[in-house]
């Protein structure tokens, strides 16, 4: 495997570490600039996961916690590709997902929202991308829910994603939203990203073509991790 450096991260396309509209970040975001380093071996490498570590229903949230029936809510497929910044598919990388249920309630001991727990819904899944970098989950659409920020702040329906690339420097946790949700433009979390085009990259599109007729709607969302640049010329240029 060739050694390539990661292209430096465009921090302008990410949220600010401290965003006044998202109050918790005022106490938890670093105030000092990060120290920028050239890519080291610890950044180029990262954990590799195997198919044997996952179960066959890990990416089917409709079935992976079903006890006495299906979970309540809109049945959906979320699918897409994991690519790098060079538009190459990332194969065999781990994609993990977690979400609220149709009532906007999380299966979590710290979630005290009034929404109902769904006995048939766990709310998490995971898969490895295939040979074309594709991932797919079947689940139910999460509901919106209020959160403590301003007194009437609501989260749009969203899925949390955790993604590994080939190197630890590509590690990413983010959230995906659904096209057309009127809460999107009011969201204090999404609006921590100053750039409107960057925010739009977190919005999944309805994919009627991939939907299962009379059964399940589909949404499509592609994920891009950092790209690389070849280092073949580096020594020549530095050494003159």
């Amino acid at each position: 495997m060739a050694q390539e450096d990661f292209i430096q991260r465009d921090l302008a396309a990410h949220p600010l570490p401290i965003s006044p509209i998202y109050k918790t970040s005022m106490f938890r975001g670093p105030t000092r600039p990060p120290l920028s380093l050239k890519t080291g071996m610890a950044d180029l490498t990262g954990p590799i996961f195997g198919a044997k570590e996952l179960g066959p229903r890990d990416n089917d949230l409709i079935l992976n916690y079903a006890k006495a029936g299906f979970p309540v809510g809109e049945r959906i497929i979320i699918h897409g590709r994991v690519l790098d910044g060079n538009a190459r598919p990332l194969r065999g990388v781990l994609v993990e997902l977690w979400q609220a249920n149709a009532s906007g309630k999380y299966r979590h001991r710290n979630d005290h929202y009034i929404g109902a727990i769904d006995p048939n819904f766990g709310g998490c899944g995971r898969c490895l991308t295939d040979g074309d970098g594709r991932y797919i989950f079947r689940t139910i659409k999460p509901g919106p829910y209020p959160f403590r920020n301003k007194v009437n702040d609501w989260r749009p329906a969203h899925m949390h994603f955790s993604v590994f690339g080939t190197g630890f420097a590509q590690r990413l946790i983010t959230q995906m939203y659904f096209e057309g949700d009127p809460l999107i433009r009011h969201d204090s979390i999404l609006n921590t990203i100053p750039d409107a085009a960057a925010r739009d990259r977190l919005v999944a599109r309805l994919d009627l073509a991939a939907s299962v007729p009379l059964d399940t709607l589909a949404y499509r969302w592609d994920i891009v991790l950092r790209g690389t640049r070849a280092t073949v010329f580096e020594n020549k240029l530095q050494g003159n």
């Binding site: 918790t24 979590h108 946790i173």
Partner: protein
Amino acid sequence: MITPDALGYLPETPSQTAGPFVHIGLIPRQAGFDIFENNLGAITLGPEIQGERIRIEGRIYDGTGAVIRDALVEIWQADSFGRFNHPVDQVPGPRDAGFRGWGRTGTDFETGTWSFNTIKPGRVARRHGEGFLAPHIQVWIAARGINLGLLTRLYFEDEAVANAEDPVLRLIEQPERRKTLIAQRVNGAENTYVFDIHLQGEMETVFFDV
């Protein structure tokens, strides 16, 4: 929607906070339920794994000095030979193929403590320049209120010689800031190192953009 730029590069997907319920997806048992047959993130140290057994632990503090109890912590490190369990690491020499080098946990909901039982990594050959880096562990944290996952490095108090020549530590201009990356040995507890992370304030930990 993703649109390539004029040269065909794709922009990186923006980060978002992991939120308070990150445990559901990544450490569901801590969220309070069992779902997967195999939970990821435990570090397995079989008898065949070489190297000094160590425990690293710490807490994460916010800008007011309060302990953060809902954070995700991941580590990535070399084996005792200074090699990473990954095909890109083609440096010649012995390696410990059974040591994955990756761990994941959450800070405790009551005490805010995180910990890993692992091995002390060896010195990794420098990619840029001659010589070796001081033993270190990459630490990555995500949590509610953290908008982009934070990467830092844990170095060891008892590696003073290696630390003094480490190019990354030397790059930190202020000696006081350098200290934020040095895990301290715990008196009385053998092979335990404490590494506290401060997100803001006088002792704000040095975070990296790699």
